[in-house]
Symmetry: C2
Subunit: 459 residues, 2 copies
Amino acid sequence: MAQKPSIPKGTRDFNPSEIAKRNYIFDTIKKNFQTYGFQPIETPSFENSDTLLGKYGEEGDRLIFKILNSGDFLRKVDDATYTDKNSNSIAPKITEKALRYDLTVPFARYVVMHQNELDFPFKRYQIQPVWRADRPQKGRFREFFQCDADVVGSDSLLQEVELVQLYDAVFSDLKLEGATIKMNNRKILAGIAEVIGAKDLLIDFTVALDKLDKIGEDGVKKEMLAKGITEKAIEKASPLFLPQGSNNEQLERLDGLLKDSEEGKKGLDELRFILETISALGLQSAELSIDVTLARGLNYYTGAIFEVAAPEGVKMGSIGGGGRYDDLTGIFGLKNVSGVGISFGLDRIYLVLEELDLFPEAIDRSLQVLCVNFGEKEAMAALKLVTQLRKAGIKADMYPSSAKMQKQMKYANNRNVPYVILIGEQELSNNSFVVKNMNEGSQLEYSLNNVGAFIDYLS
Amino acid sequence: MAQKPSIPKGTRDFNPSEIAKRNYIFDTIKKNFQTYGFQPIETPSFENSDTLLGKYGEEGDRLIFKILNSGDFLRKVDDATYTDKNSNSIAPKITEKALRYDLTVPFARYVVMHQNELDFPFKRYQIQPVWRADRPQKGRFREFFQCDADVVGSDSLLQEVELVQLYDAVFSDLKLEGATIKMNNRKILAGIAEVIGAKDLLIDFTVALDKLDKIGEDGVKKEMLAKGITEKAIEKASPLFLPQGSNNEQLERLDGLLKDSEEGKKGLDELRFILETISALGLQSAELSIDVTLARGLNYYTGAIFEVAAPEGVKMGSIGGGGRYDDLTGIFGLKNVSGVGISFGLDRIYLVLEELDLFPEAIDRSLQVLCVNFGEKEAMAALKLVTQLRKAGIKADMYPSSAKMQKQMKYANNRNVPYVILIGEQELSNNSFVVKNMNEGSQLEYSLNNVGAFIDYLS
């Protein structure tokens, strides 16, 4: 019985046109990663379970896909454990490997394992799929590509500057003008929590603040109160709820707010250095903007925090994010390696480019020339011609059988071929070929002895 | 406690230099796939288990990596089954997905699922990793890339011709001259089994014959006898054991041997057509050669069978293989779709290019220019310069801190940078920069107002 085939939920097949568009984004990002001195690495799709588990919190552990041990996997389960029939206690006995959940932990593992071969600062990029057993929904998949650039082994703020430039370079190359690179700093958030007297509630404070654009000022304040932050503390933090204003207005406001916090002032200095350096260097098309509500994975970041918003008018979550972390490799035994990195959200960038119609024209053209097949003898001449065209790097093909002209032309149309070549009986006796321009309908005749003329015409 | 990190056996980390070399091979193959009119598709890393299981034989099923269901996976195991504690009967109840074992079955699934969107003949290529729970050994991995091109929906022998040309084009572009494309045909093997009276023992006959270069004539004959092929039958097959000789000599021999088998003669006609057409078109650097002992996955192929041997002198198994199959999509309910395809063995091609020193020089150069960092003010000028170079597509970087000159130069050396740029106090006051050619030791000075001159020099 034949099965009616399907694919697992949350996964996708990509057709040639989608791949052409995805590769356009990947290639643009890669080119810029490389001009910025980043080098590619790749890590295995699955890691030992203990490399991944415990690194993403409890929720993360649940979302990691585990690979069943091969062979008689139950052999390793002792009878006492088995009898309990508890999935949580049996899982670690029957699985030893798990699919990559992100690129950051494998990168940390890589740096520690290969530390003696690396030249620090080590600038790596990595573009590979990751897997999460998340509930699939619009725009959220169980398999998707991540696209990361990180520098480890340098605490220079010039790395942050460079990453802002890199975002600008990529989005400018993609013609996605008007992206906003939002920037914050963990030390500023910690400083605010300190000066308002909510130091111990830093996470609750920032989680609430992060929701400002979603639930508004009243909502944020309500949540803060519920978490035990006092009215007085919230009152002190009131400058955060003012309309954002320019970067300079915000800096001024933060200067006032943070004057009594060493940590806060340090964060402010960092922010100011990055802003001033970027201002001196200039950006091509993006804008760098302070956003004090930005928190992202606060437990993770220790300095700068970045997030990129699509141009105004496009409804889409962040299309990139990143920041400075001070102890990525500590979990694997290598202390004091500071790092900073950013990532690009491929699927969302794809949707934005699609919405704004920014993919180059004919990006998915897979065939430039198709030769019609008129029968054995003619096909032989066409095949010779096609061989020459291919050798010159032209995407060329011949229809494989001498089907009806109508059928062959339909195929040419479906594949959106701009030039169809005809070598019929008459052309064969003339030692020539006719090129039909499918857009204009016009025809040109070339000699089979001078294929170069047609190649020149194409290029 | 910090873990000492490792990766699962049979998997690999790839460093920047290895990736540069792998991409050189991938890019060369892709470019040719595209000029031959093939289009890329990608399928999910995991498929529903029932898409994969039962498609690769019992051994194959064992080698497929199964993904444990998320959450309380034991819930679906009824108590009776659970009590038996039998891995084989419990596995299907706790796993629903499995990692891709090859690209062929997912491709068949893709063609059937998307048949209404495809234009036939559909020429697809696919370059993605696959996973097998094989015992790892030298050159055999649990995660490796496959690299396939297939045409489905055309039974024209011109497809076989084109695939031979494609092999030749790729290996010629890789400068891997002298590859031998060995060709056989399932119908010829069936015809021989028929005429020697061993029709029912076709598989045993060909499996034994396939070992000729490993165990020699005596070994093959012994195995055939053991499998129940009569001495008389083996005697009839004796022309197969003669020294191979030229293609024409082999064709002549096969003409004699197969004169009483319709199927055999049909296979011989196909072989002859492909040879003659290729001979008329010419190959760049590879050779096409009949090899009647070639069987590969005989159950799978129905017509032509291909295998590529590395140039003489290189000890390496086949670096490519493929053939014609007549019912790939039948298992998923779409009958009568003939296909033919080839694959490239990336890991082996890599080893061959490495052994013959055929990778382009400086292929793994990740940085063209490094600016030394002399301190805050100078760094700012250097950063402006680096920004200009990057915008021009040059891989450029500045050392992120004003570390000791020696340390920065060591970094430049380790990254094999050909040009180091110096902007010290003096250069800054001259508004100039000095370029040190690291190979020759020579130095040149340019104006910071005329970076274009240096860019021109580099390109």
